[in-house]
């Protein structure tokens, strides 16, 4: 096969869903830090969201499966810790999809801007942690529904 361009690989990776929040792609999540060719080997650099996030292993498998399915034969997955992942790297598309999915996107203030269901700004925090390391639990005081907030780090 001819060598796919780096832009092409980024597009492929943008079609790989995050295993825990499937409305986000790995590219939306901001964990793909670099794609480059080193001679005939494709190097993909990935940074973990949280150091103990159990999805990290699955994510590496998914990247490998997606690229192998496209015919990439020599692949090297590199782990990069620094600079540490930040929610600033979430894409605009990703933020919008999160909200549509019912998860309030991260805000610099550390608190969600509004209820992802009814848009109310009357909110209360239930717990600093949620069903995955990257989320916290909040409740809307208007529609009374609990919802998750993507933690800002």
């Amino acid at each position: 096969m001819s060598r796919p361009s780096v832009e092409q690989v980024w597009q492929w990776l943008d079609a790989v869903p995050d295993p825990e929040i499937p409305v986000l792609s790995l590219v939306d999540l901001g964990i793909i830090r670099d794609v480059a060719w080193a001679e005939d080997t494709l190097q993909v650099t990935v940074t973990p969201t949280y150091s103990g996030c159990p999805a990290t292993t699955v994510i590496n498998l998914e990247i490998e499966a997606a690229l192998r399915a496209r015919g990439v034969e020599k692949l090297e997955l590199r782990r990069q810790l620094s600079p540490a992942w930040t929610t600033d790297w979430l894409s605009q598309k990703g933020r919008q999809r999160l909200e549509e999915y019912g998860i309030a996107p991260p805000q610099p203030s550390g608190a969600p801007a509004r209820c992802p269901r009814c848009g109310s700004e009357q909110l209360e925090k239930i717990s600093q942690f949620g069903s995955t390391p990257c989320k916290a639990q909040w409740r809307c005081q208007s529609c009374l529904e609990p919802f998750e907030h993507f933690k800002c780090i």
Binding site: G52, Q128, G130
Partner: protein
């Protein structure tokens, strides 16, 4: 002691602290007083175990004998552990668990802040990663300590009892030995004693807000970070944590 040997010991201390505390905190999974706290404790434990993987993998790399984080975690016996005594103490009630978490988080947040400037880049990058998680931990544990300390008569009494019990284990964080001296000389880690002022300011502010009094007297227990004298509790904890690898050596999935 060569610099590499000291670095290995230092990394074991970092990784064993998060490993032992992570294991302790995970004992709450399914037992916490309310669901949200249960989830929060499990997530905290998960962060700590994740940090352990980074510290102990680097320790194994520095040692150069083919040991990785798993081998170091599961195939060492109690006298080879280098964690602070504080983190191996049994959980006690929820209040004591949260007080221990706060006393540890406060120290870790101050230490990791300094380690981001380490002369050893592999230490600096782990500190940067872990520091973000720990900033979140200390926010939560300090909030809980204030909520329970300045809470009901019952919760206040339990938090004061927890502080009285745990405070004599805080001093070990700031005691220096040959490993620390070598790390400070190399610019890899700060002299532990130099963290005390910032720690006392942070802890003093939160405990003051929690209406709790720090016990008087400078006595402290030691023997964890150099492995000289662990409490009886660590061995019991390890028998559970290491059971699978002891019963079925090399088992994997």
């Amino acid at each position: 002691m060569t610099r590499e040997e000291a670095l290995f010991q230092f990394l074991l201390r970092m990784g064993d602290n998060t490993l032992v505390l992570g294991q302790r905190v995970s004992e709450w999974c399914g037992h916490a007083p309310v669901l949200e706290e249960d989830i929060a404790l499990a997530n905290t434990a998960l962060d700590l175990i994740g940090q352990t993987q980074m510290w102990l993998n680097l320790a194994g790399e520095v040692e150069g004998k083919g040991r990785d984080a798993d081998k170091l975690a599961f195939l060492r016996d109690v006298w080879d552990f280098r964690n602070l005594l504080l983190v191996e103490l049994p959980n006690g009630d929820f209040g004591r668990t949260m007080m221990r978490q706060f006393l540890f988080d406060a120290w870790q947040s101050v230490l990791l802040g300094r380690l981001t400037n380490s002369a050893e880049p592999r230490v600096a990058e782990i500190a940067e990663k872990a520091g973000k998680e720990v900033a979140y931990h200390v926010e939560r544990s300090s909030g809980t300590v204030v909520g329970l300390g300045d809470g009901t008569e019952e919760s206040h009494a339990r938090m004061q009892a927890a502080l009285d019990y745990l405070w004599p284990y805080v001093g070990e964080m700031f005691a220096s030995d040959a490993v620390d001296e070598e790390m400070a000389r190399a610019g890899i880690a700060p002299d532990p004693a130099g963290l005390r002022e910032e720690y006392d300011a942070l802890v003093g502010r939160v405990l003051g807000e929690a209406t709790l009094s720090i016990p008087e007297g400078g006595f402290f227990h030691k023997g964890g970070k150099d492995g000289a004298r662990h409490t009886e509790h660590l061995g019991h904890m390890l028998t559970e944590m290491q059971w699978l690898q002891r019963a079925y050596p090399g088992a994997s999935w």
